[in-house]
Structures are given as C-alpha cells and as structure tokens.
C-alpha cells in the first residue's frame, strides 16, 4: 500500500455524457485506461461535483455490451444473429441503401436521433440528404415544457433557464425531475435550503429530491394544471399579483375581440397599423399596447369595452379572471387534485407574500429597452421548475402554460430570486424559427437540399406541414393538424407510422442513440411487430433499419446494419450553442469532447458518429459535403467541427473563432480552435456583466449585445404571451373561421379537438385516458427516474446495477389492502392494451391513486451485455408494454399525445392491478435476443478494476 505519488500518467478535461447535463469532467488516465473521473472545478455547470452516473463512467467505457465492429444482420430481425463486417463494407452498404432511397425520394429516409447532443448538425446532415424526416427525441421527452415556455416567455426550463438558487426564498419543484438536471439542481437545492429558503415538492411520490423538501404536496397525477389555477385564484382574490409586471411585460391587458362566430373572435383588437390595443383608464380611450411604458398608460385589466368599430373587447386578463373565479376555487380544485383547499390557499399566500412583499434588491444599475435607467435590480424570490411529470400528460401543454402564467402574475420571470434565462434565451417569440414549409413530402427531389430548419414554432395554421388534403407531410405527423405545435418532432410515432404506411412507407430508418425497440417506445409488443412484420413476399415492411450505437441494445438487435459508435471519452463532439445550449444563467457556455482514450488500442474497431456522418455525406456526394469539383470538403469530423459554418462566421463552437482565435461567437473558422478549448479545460464560458443578467426580455444592454452575436434579431421588448393568440388561430380553423390558406380536413373529431383544446388561455382538462379507461382502470401508472441511473441508459454499468438491477411496482399500502395485495406479491398490471407481470413494493411515499416504477431498468433478455439470468430481464420489468401508443376518439385511432404538441403522454396510462395466480418470480411478457458471441466471452466472474 503506497500512499502519495502521482496516480495518473495524464489528465484531460472533457464533458460528461453519462446523462444530458453536460457537466465538466477531469479524466485521469493510467496505462491508457481511465483511472478516475472527477468533476471539473472550473466548470460553471457542476463546479467540481459529479453525480453517481458521471462517477461510473469508467464502467461504461469497459462495458461488456460495447460493440467492437460494424454488424450486418444475418438472421431474422431480433434474433441477434449478425456477422461482423469491415468498416469499408458497412459504409458501402449504407451508401447504397441511402442512395437507392434518395432516388425514390429523399423523404423515404427517416433519421431520428435520441439523446442527441448534436441536433443542429444532425438536422443539417438530414437537410443535405434532402429529407424532411428528421427529429431528435423531444417528442417523448419534454416538448410540452419547451414549447409552452418558448410560446409563453420566449424561454423555458432545463437548458433554457432555471431557478435563481442563489437568491430564491421559495422553490417549487413540480413532477418528475431527478434527471433534469442532475448536478446543478442538487447544488441549487442545497444552496437555497442552507440560506433558509423553503423547498416544496409537488409530486405523487416523495422520493429523491423530495426527501429534503420542507413540504410535500402529494398531488393526483395529471391534475397539476388545476392546482396552479387554484393558486392563481387565491392570488387574484387577495391581490397578490404583480400588476406592474403584467402591465409592462405581458399581453395580459391587451384587448381581445369578443365576436363569436366571426373570423375576428378571440384575436387581439388591433389598430390600423396592426398594433394590439389596450384600454387606458386614465384617458378613457383605446391606445396601442406599445405605448404603455412610453406614455405611462394605465391599462384596464378588468372590464368590457366597445370599440369605435363596434367590437366588444375585453382585456385578456379579464377573460382569464372570469375562469379563475368561476372554475378554480380551492374547494373545486381540491376535488380534482386531492390537495386540501386550505393547503392550496396557504401555499398561494406563502408564495404570493414572499414574491410581492419580500422583494430583493441587488445594487445593479440597468437600462431597459425604453431607455429608462433603473438604479437597482428588483427581484421576487419565488421560483419553479417543471419537467416531464407535467409534460407527459395529454394536458401537458396547457398545464405548463398555467405555470408560466403563474410566474407572470408573481413577476418572477428573469428577475433575481425567480426564474432566470440562459443565453441565447430569451428570444422574441415572433422571431422563433419555423420549420421549413413544404406541402408534399416529395417536394424535395433527389440531389436537392431541404433548406431547413426541420423544427420550429408555428405562428398559425398556414405554417403547418400538410398537403393539400390536410395530411401530414412528415412521417412522424409533426406539424400536422393533429399535432400542430410540435416544436421538437415526434420520434415515438415513427415506427408505428412507417409500419402502417401512415401517411406513407419509407425505405430506410436510421436511429442514433435511441432505444426505440424498447424503453423509448410505448406498447412494445406492437413496436416489435412493426419492426418484424413482412409483406406477402417476405420483405420487411420497414425495409432497412440502420442503427448507430455503442452498445448492444434492443434497438441494435432489431436492426439490419449497425455502426458501432465510440464512447464519449473517445470522440470529437461539440456541445453547441446552436443546439440545446449548455449555458449558465450568467452567460453562454459551450463545450467540447475529444478523444482521450484510443478505442483501437483496447480492441474496439469503432468510430464516432460524426466521423461516419462525414464519410457517408462525402460518399453520397451530398451538397454540403463536397466542393464544386466533387472533392471532399471535410477530412473527418474534427475538420468538420473546425470548418463547418451554418451561416458565415457561425459554427459549431462559439469560442476562439477568427483565424487567430481572438473572436467569440462570430468569426471565421480557427484552425486551432479545438486545441484552445482543450487548453481552457474543455469549455467556453462568456460571463455577462451584472447589468446584462436580469430582465433580459427588456434589457437594452443585453439585447444590444445579443444582437451583435446573433442571439436576437432586434432590440425590442419580448412581450410574454399571457394570452397565446397562436392557439386561437387554430381554434378559428376548427370553427371554419380561419381566413388563411390552410384549412383543416372536414373531420368533426379533428375540428372539435381544435376548438376544445386550443384555448389561448390555459385551463385544466382530464388526461385523455380518463375517458377511455376511467371506469375500469382506476390507478395511474407512471415512471420516475433513479438519480443514479436514468439517462445513463446503461443498466449494464457494473457499478450502477449494483444499486438497482431491477425495479418494483411501488404502491401505497392502503391501496394494496383494498386490492388484497401484500408486500412483494407478484401482480399483473393491466391497461386497456395489455398486461405486464411484476412485483409489488409497498410504500407510504406514494399517493393512493398512483402506482409507479423506475424507468428503463427492465431489459430484454440477452441485451446490454447482461447474462440471460440477470435481474433486468427476469424480475425487472418494463412498464412501456402497457402504455398505449394510440387512442380511439370517435371512430378514429389517433397516435397518443398532447393535442397541441403531440408530446407522448406516457403518464396518462391507467391500470388495474391484481395478484397473479402464478407467483413465479419472473416478469411477463418475455422477449429474448441472442447476445453476441464476443459479449458472452466478456462475462467474467469477478471484476477487479485497477489499471
């Protein structure tokens, strides 16, 4: 036992990829093996700390599930029968498949990427292929939160913004959040708790972060929207409202036309210049809303007025106030949520009095876009965070909207102690990108580029991606009449849609870093059927499946051609501001990954996807990858990261641009840029001066700087959408009153959906499953995320799986008693689409209407480098088997999702639970794939890791 002396040969700084948080890491290497991974002290995201996942990165690097060479399927799909082939052959096959597909129409290639952190580049690659069919994984992740935030305040939670933990005095965490985000949240919660702040958790389950909450609000799943509307009722009742904030920064006082049955109904009342109007109480006249601050107007929030043209108009707030008073008293909300009315009232009073009567003042001078100088920066120290708990319901978009409206009423958006944006957010809502519109999938022909972007934010029905009959243009039905404000695409619809040829069949399905054959899809028996179904001639209905992954996942086993990816410690990779930014609230951040370990030396003949993308793009001669003379533009992905520009001066990384590395954000490519990142411990952090850190929606200095670096297009107020007029345009379309070009198909079910759910002011409605399953299936079933595993996928991780190698169905003891179920009984969990067998664990941490489990721990037998008798495939189970992928509305079967965004509503699932007759400790249904022969050879009886 020797103590002291350097324990490593070399040390490198990089960015973690054990989950999506993008923490900085210090990687210590001995004998070309990873000896130790530590959090990077200098990194603004994790400030030196590292979670359980990041600290287990070594076991990912040396996982037995790692692929070592390209694979070509030789047996039936899902059999696990592959032959290893050389890279040259693999690239030739892929080139040929993609080329043949492109000739039939580039849209016949669908490329969907999962936990993708190079979305902008992957989207651009798909543009070069000419296909409209690309998206990342937001559709099943948290698009409801992103979309409602971007549409409401021009920013959102997670990578878009977070609580000001340093200054907040009241933090409410709503729904499942332990994965988003990992270290920053733990750092933040402890900081605010240490300073005496109150931490409130709203969740059917008390676990994880909930353990240290000062108050637990055990809400019934899917009812959060009602809870927040109840809180706003109380705030309004006792005048705990920041009227100045609503007046200056939101459209709450703007006047809305009340003319049912006409094309103007529900739209803002505008003057001849098209400017929305308010009613000024001082002058008793109608004035343009943009004169509120310059002329010191006193706009009415309550009342009905008649305009000179004869319209009846009401302030947006008035319409909402009506609703709050009528439908959401605490007593009514108690009946929906199960939260006692007195608690709703108390919680509202607590947050309201802190926000309104305990403001904080920072001695920071700043100037607003109207030119007013503020001597200090006033903050309201109440903050919130919502993520997938709210997102994963069919009422998720409107529920998230309730939270954003609550934040507006309390005046806590982008202020000290409240919610803070992370640059490049906030954005002007009207300037958000729209998906490039085509009206036929084959509008982009062979050899042409789809101009992009693939994803974005529609302003009205004319921006939809539909054909002349109103059918979806995209394979995932994104931006269709059924799922208009999709924002992130709908990856979860792709396999069912391609199988059903709805709206059309495809030729090649490419999947990168997503496990669509298993835990990232729903109704797995159906997904397996879709992936293995053949036509009468014996050909697969989804003809070709190419997967890019580093591990032997279920998705890999159901693929035809597999490109083995390098790990995060082995490849070049940009964590870009063009993507979901890794920024801090104090300023933009981007970061690099670079090869620290040489996989070849460890026997892995693998390549990072970036290198494969450059190779495929060049071989196919895609426009962006070749020079006019046909020669290759990029040698490899490192070269690509340095020289690729999405527009002149803007590339994957923002730091050290310009020939000499003396420009940031905008500048010509710098041949030494990546080395400069490495020298700066792997990241670029541009800390903004104090006067640019708050009120960025109206902060003149910030906005002028943001324009100079291309984050914003103009210096102007970002007016928050208390009232979301965009939704009203879809509602008008449903009523047949939209005057634009795109009209919805004459389908009463669709039209009713548009009328009912596209309410420009948020409201609560029961999750859809309630109507079809409510009577027979009384319990809500959903998943939570184990902090030590989720998003690191790899339950095969030798250390993390010792913490949990299997999952249980957690249930309240009183619920179990009623059902005659005892602790550790094996039970059937049955939904309207099927049933899964699993073991019950009784706990008082779960509210009685809910059962839940950890996500993604149950695996298919034989996958992930695990031995066939491993817990993950025997006693562990996958709830996804019983999560519906579609729902019948009237006579129509529709993909299951939020009617506004299409967000997959995993947590809507309703089940009944009953004791299994056969108590054999094994899950059902059972699937099994054959492990690769070389994986079996890696099953050592004892692991003694010490390089």
């Amino acid at each position: 036992m020797e103590i002291g002396g350097s324990f490593y040969d070399r040390k490198a700084y990089s960015t973690c990829y054990m989950c999506a948080c993008r923490c900085g890491i210090e990687v210590y290497v001995r004998n070309n093996k990873v000896a130790y991974i530590k959090g990077n002290d200098a990194h603004p995201t994790n400030k030196g700390v590292l979670c359980a996942k990041g600290s287990s990165g070594i076991m990912k690097e040396y996982s037995p599930a790692r692929l070592r060479k390209p694979l070509l399927r030789v047996g039936p799909r899902g059999s696990g029968q592959f032959k290893e082939i050389e890279w040259e052959e693999a690239l030739e096959i892929a080139t040929q498949w993609l080329e043949e597909a492109r000739k039939k129409g580039p849209y016949k290639i669908a490329f969907f990427t999962g936990r993708d952190q190079m979305q902008q580049i992957n989207s651009w690659f798909s543009c070069q292929l000419g296909t409209v069919n690309w998206a990342a994984h937001g559709g099943f992740c948290s698009v409801n939160i992103a979309a409602s935030g971007l549409y409401s305040i021009g920013g959102s939670f997670w990578e878009f913004g977070e609580a000001d933990f340093e200054n907040t005095k009241y933090f409410m965490l709503i729904g499942v959040a332990e994965d988003h985000s990992s270290n920053p949240f733990k750092l933040g919660i402890q900081e605010m708790k240490r300073k005496g702040g109150k931490f409130v958790v709203v969740n059917p389950v008390r676990w994880g972060y909930g353990a240290v909450a000062d108050e637990w609000v055990p809400i019934k799943p899917g009812t959060d929207g009602a809870f927040f509307l109840g809180i706003m009722h109380v705030l309004f009742k006792y005048n705990l409202v920041d009227w100045e904030f609503l007046k200056e920064y939101t459209n709450a006082p703007w006047l809305v036309i009340q003319a049912p049955g006409t094309s103007k109904d529900g739209l803002f009342y505008r003057n001849q210049e098209g400017k929305p109007m308010v009613f000024d109480k001082k002058s008793q006249s109608f004035k343009p809303a943009d004169r509120i601050v310059p002329e010191g107007l006193d706009p009415a929030f309550i009342g009905e007025f008649t305009t000179p043209e004869g319209y009846k108009v009401r302030p947006a707030f008035d319409i909402f106030a009506d609703r709050l008073v009528r439908d959401y008293s605490p007593e009514k909300v108690e009946k929906i949520t199960g939260i006692p009315a007195k608690d709703i009232e108390r919680i509202a009073k607590e947050m309201g009095t802190i926000a309104l009567y305990h403001p904080i003042e920072l001695p920071i001078e700043w100037v607003d876009v109207w030119g007013r100088k503020h001597k200090k920066t006033i903050g309201r120290p109440v903050s919130f965070h919502v993520m997938r708990g709210v997102a994963s319901h069919t009422n998720g978009f409107q529920t998230a909207r309730t939270v954003f409206l609550l934040m507006m009423m309390l005046g806590v958006v982008d202020v000290p102690g409240g919610f803070l944006n992370k640059p490049p957010y906030p954005k002007h809502i009207e300037d958000l990108p729209k998906p490039y519109k085509i009206t036929r999938p084959d509008e982009i022909g062979y050899g042409e580029v789809y101009p992009g972007p693939h994803l974005g934010y529609l302003q009205n029905p004319d921006d939809l991606l539909v054909d002349e009959k109103g059918n979806p243009v995209r394979i995932d039905h994104a931006y269709s009449w059924w799922f208009p404000l999709t924002a992130h695409g709908l990856i979860h619809n792709v396999i069912p849609a391609a199988y059903e040829k709805n709206p059309y069949g495809i030729e090649v399905l490419m999947i990168y870093m997503a496990n669509m054959a298993w835990n990232s899809s729903q109704n797995i028996p159906y997904i397996i059927k879709a992936l293995t179904a053949t036509d009468p001639a014996g050909n697969y209905i989804i003809p070709k499946v190419i997967t890019i992954d580093a591990f032997y996942s279920e998705q890999v086993a159901y693929s035809d051609l597999v490109f083995p990816d390098a790990t995060y410690l082995e490849q070049w990779f940009a964590l870009s501001l063009l993507d979901r930014p890794p920024s801090a609230v104090d300023g933009p951040v981007d970061a690099l990954r670079h090869p620290i370990i040489n996989p070849q030396e460890n026997g892995y003949d693998v390549r990072g996807w970036g290198d494969v993308m450059v190779e495929l793009g060049s071989r196919l001669g895609l426009p962006g990858f070749v020079n006019p003379d046909g020669s290759r533009k990029y040698k490899d992905f490192k070269d690509f990261l340095i020289n690729w520009q999405i527009r002149p001066g803007v590339g994957a990384l923002a730091g050290w641009r310009g020939k000499n590395g003396d420009k940031h954000f905008v500048g010509e490519p710098n041949p030494n840029q990546l080395e400069m990142y490495i020298k700066n411990k792997g990241f670029f952090y541009y800390k903004l001066p104090e006067n640019m850190r708050y009120y960025r929606h109206v902060n003149k200095d910030y906005q002028e700087w943001a324009v100079s670096v291309g984050f914003l297009k103009k210096v102007a107020p970002i007016t928050f959408n208390f009232y979301l007029e965009t939704l009203q345009t879809f509602r008008l379309a449903g009523q047949g009153l939209w005057e634009g070009k795109n009209q919805p198909p004459n389908d009463p079910i669709l039209r009713e959906r548009l009328i009912k759910y596209f309410d420009p002011l948020p409201f609560w409605y029961p999750p859809f499953e309630e109507e079809v399953s409510g009577k027979d299936y009384l319990l809500y079933a959903f998943t939570q995320r184990p902090q030590w595993m989720y998003h690191s996928w790899d339950s095969q991780n030798a250390w993390l799986r010792q913490i949990s190698s299997r999952n249980y169905l957690y249930m309240n003891p009183k619920t179990a008693e009623k059902l005659g179920i005892k602790h550790l009984d094996w039970v059937w969990v049955e939904s309207r689409i099927g049933k899964v067998k699993c073991q019950v664990y009784l706990t008082e941490t779960t509210e009685p209407n809910s059962v839940w489990t950890w996500n993604a721990i149950g695996k298919m037998k034989g996958a992930w480098g695990l031995k066939p008798d491993a817990d993950e495939g025997t006693e562990g189970f996958l709830l996804n088997h019983v999560i519906p992928h579609s729902i019948k509305i009237g006579e129509k079967e529709i993909y299951y999702g939020d009617p506004i965004t299409g967000h997959l509503a995993w947590f809507d699932t309703k089940v009944k639970v009953y004791k299994a007759e056969d108590q054999t400790p094994e899950t059902y249904p059972q699937y099994e794939i054959k492990p690769l022969p070389y994986i079996e050879e890696r099953w050592i009886p004892v692991l003694r890791y010490k390089p």
């Binding site: 036992m1 002291g4 000896a35 530590k38 959090g39 700390v49 590292l50 979670c51 996942k53 600290s55 287990s56 037995p64 990992s182 733990k186 750092l187 919660i189 402890q190 708790k193 005496g196 676990w207 353990a211 240290v212 000062d214 637990w216 055990p218 009742k237 006792y238 005048n239 929030f301 309550i302 008035d318 106030a321 009506d322 709050l324 008073v325 108390r346 009073k349 009095t353 009567y357 902090q787 030590w788 030798a798 250390w799 799986r801 010792q802 309240n812 009183k814 008082e844 941490t845 509210e847 695990l866 491993a870 025997t874 890696r938 050592i940 009886p941 004892v942 692991l943 003694r944 890791y945």
Partner: protein, 232 residues
C-alpha cells in the same frame, strides 16, 4: 489528539449515490484497491463498497418522511473492531484517528465485521481480506494533489454539498463548528463506540403568512365575482 471524520448533512442529502460511486471509482484504482465486483453482469452483482446509501421512510401517508443515510466506517473513537482483531491488522492510527486494515496481516477471520454494530466492513472474497473506508488516506496526505483536492473523494464529489471532512477535535475546524451549531449526532450513541462520523439532522423551513398583506376586499376580484352572481 486529532480525529478525522465525516459529517453528513441529512438536510441536503438527496440519496443520489454520487458519494458511493465516486468512492468506488477512486478506491478501486488507488492504494487500497481493487474493490472486487462479483458476477458483475449476472444475476447477483455484488461488490465491495466502502460507502453505501440506506433509504428509510417513516410516517403514514401523507405525513411521510424519507431519509437517505449514507453509511461508511464511522472511525469510532472506541472502535470495537480493533481489540477483537487477533492479528492487529485492524488498527486505529494515533495521529489522525483513522481506522485502517493492514491487508498483509489480515487473516480474513471476520471478527471485526461481527463486532461492528454498523455493518460498515466489507469482506473481499477475492482477496480474502477485510476492506473499509480509509477516509481516502491516499488522497488527504498526497502532496502531488493540489491542496483543495486533498479530501475524501465522496466529499469532493457530493452534489448536495452534504459531506464535510476534518478534525472533529479541533474547535477551529468546519466539522467541529457544524456539529455544534447544527446539533450533530452520532449513530447508536449508547453502543459505547463513540463514532467519529456525525450526522446533521433534518430541519423544516416554515413560512408564517403575514395576513396584513392580504387584501380581503380586492375590488377587481369582487367585480368578477359579482358578474358571476349576476349571471346565475
């Protein structure tokens, strides 16, 4: 006499297991490693861990509380594992109070683990010796590490900043102060082991609503309310 120890704050620990895995990755490769993992990819993966997280729930719904309790060798001042060791392999260092096992002298008889009331010793079946938390003795004295890194791995990595390290006998140390200020306690105080590691209890922040800030006759609310009464 110095007594190094950990102080763990149950008021911020969220049970994330970061301390456990970072301990594992440090120690398996360092002076006292490897820490063997048996059947790592099979039915019953079980390995040697110096640090494990226990989770407990108390109370009935909805008044349920959840506690995460990270547990490692408590470096007792009257460590029962030391006198029972027949070979002297299990010993307590004079200079800093750290309890260690000298692998060369350990005969694997497990008397120490039977005597430990906390279950904090880990027998490595591959090496046939007893292993346990060393307070990262191979970090805290390693002068090749920058001074700020000369702390146990679990302390440096903890994302909830729930772990403090230092000399609990030194009135000027951070650990001494937090134990005093926040009513630090030890596990099983009546066992006579006098554990060095301490825990800080949960506290609950409550807010007193100041009723005078509430406007009970908000005219705007009353106006809307009236409207509904008129309608009905």
């Amino acid at each position: 006499m110095a007594q190094f120890a950990l102080v763990i704050d149950l008021n911020t620990c969220v049970g994330c297991h970061a301390c456990a895995t970072n301990c594992k990755e440090w120690n398996t490769q360092a002076a006292f490693g490897p820490l063997s993992d048996f059947d790592p990819y099979g039915r019953e993966p079980q390995g040697v861990w110096y640090n494990r997280i226990m989770t407990y729930e108390i109370g009935e719904f909805p008044n349920t509380q959840v506690f995460h309790l990270p547990k490692s060798c408590l470096h007792c001042q009257d460590a029962p594992c030391v006198p029972v060791c027949p070979t002297g392999a299990s010993y307590k260092r004079q200079q800093d109070g750290i309890v260690l096992v000298n692998y060369d002298d350990c005969i694997g008889c497990k008397l120490c683990s039977w005597s430990c009331p906390y279950g904090c010793r880990e027998f490595d079946e591959a090496d046939k010796v007893m292993k346990k938390c060393t307070l990262c003795i191979d970090r805290i004295y390693d002068e090749s590490l920058p001074p700020e890194h000369r702390k146990p791995a679990c302390v440096l990595t903890c994302p909830a900043k729930a772990r403090f390290f230092g000399d609990i006998e030194d009135p000027n140390s951070e650990v001494y102060k937090v134990i005093k200020e926040r009513n630090g306690f030890v596990l099983f105080p009546d066992m006579g082991t006098n554990p060095a590691n301490h825990y800080l209890p949960r506290t609950e922040t409550k807010i007193h609503v100041e009723d005078h800030f509430l406007k009970h006759d908000n005219p705007l609310f009353l106006e809307v309310l009236r409207r509904h009464h008129t309608k009905t």
